[in-house]
Amino acid sequence: MARAVRRVCPAWLADEVDDLTQIATARVLHRMRATAGTVVFKSGYLYRAAYTVLIDEIRRRRRLREEALEVDVAPASSAVDAERLTASRDIREALAGCLSKQLPTRRRAVVLHLQGHSFAETALLLECAHKKAENLVYRGLADLRACLKARGVTP
């Protein structure tokens, strides 16, 4: 099992899988003991626990990276990276700015669409009819396209 886990792990998390596994297992066991057998746990709970452990760890590492960047200002070897970061930040700000100007219902539909949800899933998540979700996505995308173009960002 350990070999299989290491085989699929990306390098930056390879050393952490054992620890993450222990944390996730401990959370599940703690919850099972706390409920003293009064609640039936299914494998879905294990997925949930594993997911939260993974996201917490990713966030922790990103916070550490940000802190390191703040302390170690402008390392000499990263001129290209810095340029890329700036461009990425500009695009992100343009996207965020354009999305923030949209009507909330359109914005949510567009965000879910960009995330990869189908119209049916978007309709379920927004609790609206399939046709309405489709309409919101198309109109929202048209708005977004026009806004980005006005800001000089071409998708």
Partner: protein, 350 residues
């Protein structure tokens, strides 16, 4: 083909790699709950609003989508009474899956438009499918406009590149009655149409047959094949050529059915005795629930639904979806090949 929406999606997703963590990011637990529709509509809307300005949480959402797909395809088990080592092993496996999916999420490999980052490999299959498109590129990448588990991607790939459809052939063989003249070699006339040699989802199936011009009425009889042909339902005399059982049939059992046409010259039966029986099986409750869940996930896609139905043995439904796929793609040899495969392999050969 206008792929601008896909490029827009790829752009949106590419922002996560260099993004930081905000002070107002919702806990991971709430993102999982939101995507699982455990939160109220208002709470869910607030989190989706946050995704618009936080690429890191947008990535986390996509990981939850991908992991949720894995969970749907995995069997549900109770954790209670299982040893600690089992939990640790299961957690390790799920985490490893999560880490792999996270890598895919970061590389834009989950969701639409992933081929538009950098130079996309050429498409070898592109089908219009319901509300969207399904494509396969030269590297085997499957794009269905929605998140799919790796296992389901592989099934789509096999279906469209090798013409393979997964179906429970052994179980379907029990529903075919030798010499199997029903499905192709019978003479035109008074015949049963459906359900024949297939599973059905509903425990109140609708029986259909061809009309007999001289018939004054029809009567359907349904027997329990597993209980020595005990008659479980009989219709009143029908003037139409379809009838649904008013009372539910027991699930998980095989049934045989017959329709009798009353004519001035006497009674005529379908299927004829020499043609073999018309059998079908009603899915168990858990199988039917699984199909209904899959229908919600894959609604709007003829191909994905056809694969789900075929795997469950629901051949009539799979057939209808594939015919719709062929109608939408009249020049596609892949779509036609799939329909032929379903008819030839899944329906006829034991």
């Amino acid at each position: 083909v206008n792929d601008e929406p896909e490029r827009l999606a790829a752009l949106f997703r590419s922002l996560g790699a260099n993004a930081g963590v905000r002070e107002d990011c919702p806990p991971a637990e709430r993102i999982w709950a939101a995507i699982g529709r455990e939160l109220s509509a208002g709470e869910r809307a607030a989190i989706v609003d946050h995704l618009a300005v936080c690429p890191t949480c947008a990535e986390a959402w996509r990981l939850a989508m991908a992991l949720g797909q894995e969970r749907v395809s995995a069997p549900s088990r109770r954790l209670a009474a299982r040893p600690t080592w089992w939990l640790a092993a299961a957690a390790a496996l799920i985490l490893a899956t999560g880490v792999v999916l996270w890598r895919q999420v970061q590389s834009g490999n989950v969701g639409p438009g992933r081929q538009t980052v950098n130079r996309p490999p050429p498409l070898i299959v592109a089908l219009q499918d319901g509300n969207g498109r399904i494509t396969i590129d030269a590297q085997g990448g499957v794009e269905a406009g929605r998140p799919l588990s790796e296992e389901f991607r592989a099934r789509v790939r096999r279906a469209l590149t090798q013409g393979q459809i997964d179906a429970p052939r052994d179980r379907l063989a029990a529903l075919r009655d030798p010499p199997a003249l029903l499905m192709g070699d019978s003479t035109p006339g008074f015949e049963v149409i459906a359900p024949v040699a297939t599973m059905v989802v509903s425990d109140r199936p609708t029986f259909e047959w061809c009309p007999l011009p001289a018939a004054r009425g029809y009567q359907v009889t349904v027997s329990d094949f597993d209980d020595d042909y005990r008659v479980v339902a009989t219709s009143p005399e029908q003037q139409t050529t379809a009838w649904a059982t008013p009372m539910p049939l027991a699930r998980g059992r095989i049934y045989a059915w017959q329709v009798v046409a009353r004519t001035p010259g006497g009674e005529t039966k379908a299927p004829r005795p020499e043609a073999g029986e018309a059998r079908f099986k009603v899915l168990t409750q858990s199988e039917a629930d699984a199909v209904r869940r899959a229908e919600q996930v894959y609604t709007g896609s003829h191909l994905l639904l056809a694969l789900v139905y075929a795997e469950a043995g629901l051949l009539d439904r799979a057939d209808a979806e594939l015919r719709a796929l062929v109608a939408a793609n009249p020049t596609s040899k892949e779509a036609r090949e799939l329909l032929l495969t379903l008819s030839r392999d899944a329906r006829r050969q034991p």
